[in-house]
């Protein structure tokens, strides 16, 4: 047991103050997962609003597909993105493989169905009622959008928190498309995995603490934004 306590102590020491390398890893993790969550949000909110408000043929099928997509393993998305951005792939010319760009793309794809499904579930009822109320009172298009988004803001925040939490903790897929290159694509999860396998248990623990703190900070921040 003592080596775990030693690991915790040494891990804490590595963070006070954090070295340049650890700082770089932290910043890259937050940047990649933040960008991925942002992109997924920009796609998921309109998608959820559309699915919540519009009736169309095949809507059930689409909702079913979104829900199924939540169950797709991250490594499969990693495989897909790898295929897309590797040199022979359709996006190969962009040279994205083993860059933060590829990681953002993969993480955004991973978060999108989860965020859409969560926002849709939370919007059910709420969005329709907000729409009916605003429309019946004479809202124009802009006023209608404001009313529905305002009413759905808690739904969206829940989805954003879940999406960010999902991608910042993702390892295998991020490793596949990012490559865990030191100083370039190494993020918290891939670093923890590498350092632990190398036997650098205390570094793993230090990074683990950072990962938890980062997730906690983001969650608290978003909760505060909800105003409750």
């Amino acid at each position: 047991m003592s080596y775990i306590l030693d690991g915790l102590r040494q891990g804490a020491a590595l963070l006070l103050p954090p070295g340049r390398e650890i700082l770089q890893i932290i910043v890259l993790s937050l940047a990649v997962s933040g960008a991925a969550t942002l992109i997924a949000t920009l796609a998921a909110i309109p998608a959820a609003l559309f699915l919540a408000l519009k009736e169309f043929r095949g809507k059930r099928l689409v909702v079913g597909l979104v829900n199924t997509a939540m169950a797709v393993p991250a490594v499969l998305i990693g495989l897909l993105v790898y295929g897309l951005v590797s040199r022979r792939g359709p996006l190969g010319a962009l040279g994205l493989l083993f860059t933060p760009g590829a990681m953002v793309l993969a993480q955004a794809l991973l978060a999108f169905p989860l965020m859409t499904a969560l926002a849709l579930a939370a919007l059910k009822g709420v969005a329709r009622e907000a729409r009916d109320l605003a429309l019946s009172l004479g809202a124009d298009r802009r006023q209608l959008a404001v009313a529905v988004i305002r009413q759905g803001r808690f739904a969206f925040l829940t989805a954003i928190i879940a999406g960010f939490s999902r991608v910042i903790g993702e390892t295998g897929m991020t490793l596949m498309v990012g490559g865990n290159i030191k100083g370039q694509t190494r993020v918290l999860t891939t670093a923890i995995s590498l350092e632990t396998m190398k036997g650098n248990f205390e570094i793993g623990i230090a990074l683990g603490i950072v990962l938890l703190l980062a997730a906690l900070a983001i969650n608290i921040g978003l909760q505060l934004a909800q105003g409750k």
């Binding site: 009622e129 109320l133 019946s136 009172l137 004479g138 124009d140």
Partner: protein, 356 residues
Amino acid sequence: MMEIHIAGLGLTVGNKAILDNIDLEFSPGVVNVILGPNGAGKSTLLRLLGLLDRPGSGEIYFDDRAASSMSAAERTALRRRCGFVFQAPLLLAASVEANLRYGARLRSLGVSDEAVRQVLGATGLAGKEGQEARLLSGGEKQRLQLARVLLLDPDLYLLDEPTANLDPLSVKNIEAAIARLAREGKTVVLATHNLTQARLLAGKIVFLQAGRLLQAGAAADVLRHPLSLDIAEFSAAENIIPGTLFRRDDSAMLDCGPLAIEVVSERTSGRAAAVIRPEDILVSLEPITSSARNSFRGTVLAVSDLGAVMTIHVDCVGIAFTVFVTRISCSQMGLAVGSGVVLTFKATSVLLLPLD
């Protein structure tokens, strides 16, 4: 004030026709009541009128302007002439006053504090401005919805069961307010399954069932001469007796099993139902000589008190009749459970509805 004309309106969701080929007109000046049981399509029709949903087929004309040819801006402009009261109150998570002013804010209408005070008073919500709307009682929420719409002073009122959750006194006040709107020349369309309300308020009645328009016309006509058994059952739930038509001498008769009722009918065969209004049946203790062609002996099964009028249930050889008798007649005749009576009514008082 707004004239509404509906032509061939239909809406199908999945395989189910929610509304099926509806032709209608709504005019200002009277309360137009959409009557019908649950699931008739009343709310759907109101939503289409309020431009909240789009019909699957057909057209709605507002003052001769076809809704389907309107631009988005024109549809918004039209919605701004409507006031919609939802069956289940829709309110913002905000104060009563914020809810009240929400519509005015969306329509960029300036509303004076005096106007706010006035509608709050008219809807019995005076002094509640600062309260959280979500914490109001069901009835208060419904009145707040109406207040919000009254404040906008629209030309067209679309009211979906506006008194469903209210206590009797509030119902009376709201009904009076609705009647006043119609008198002031507004176009008022009210959906309800409450027959008493329809009788009280309606200038025009539109009867819907399972998405189909069964009858539309002046309220008195629809209530007095229902065109189908469904409407009769809904609007005059008493004395609907099915049977088979036959001819006896020169008269048309309806064979109702234990007794045969003389009716006025061209047809003398086939299934039909006799509808006899309770107030058209004469109750006596002994057979009377009169021109009325139908007279049956029976026994009083129950007497119930409705205030000025007593309702007497009479069994005539296995067929139950409901009759209205004034309180005075009832006591003078000494009617009680078990009394032997004679029921008399004219053949012309029998409304005959074909069953096949």
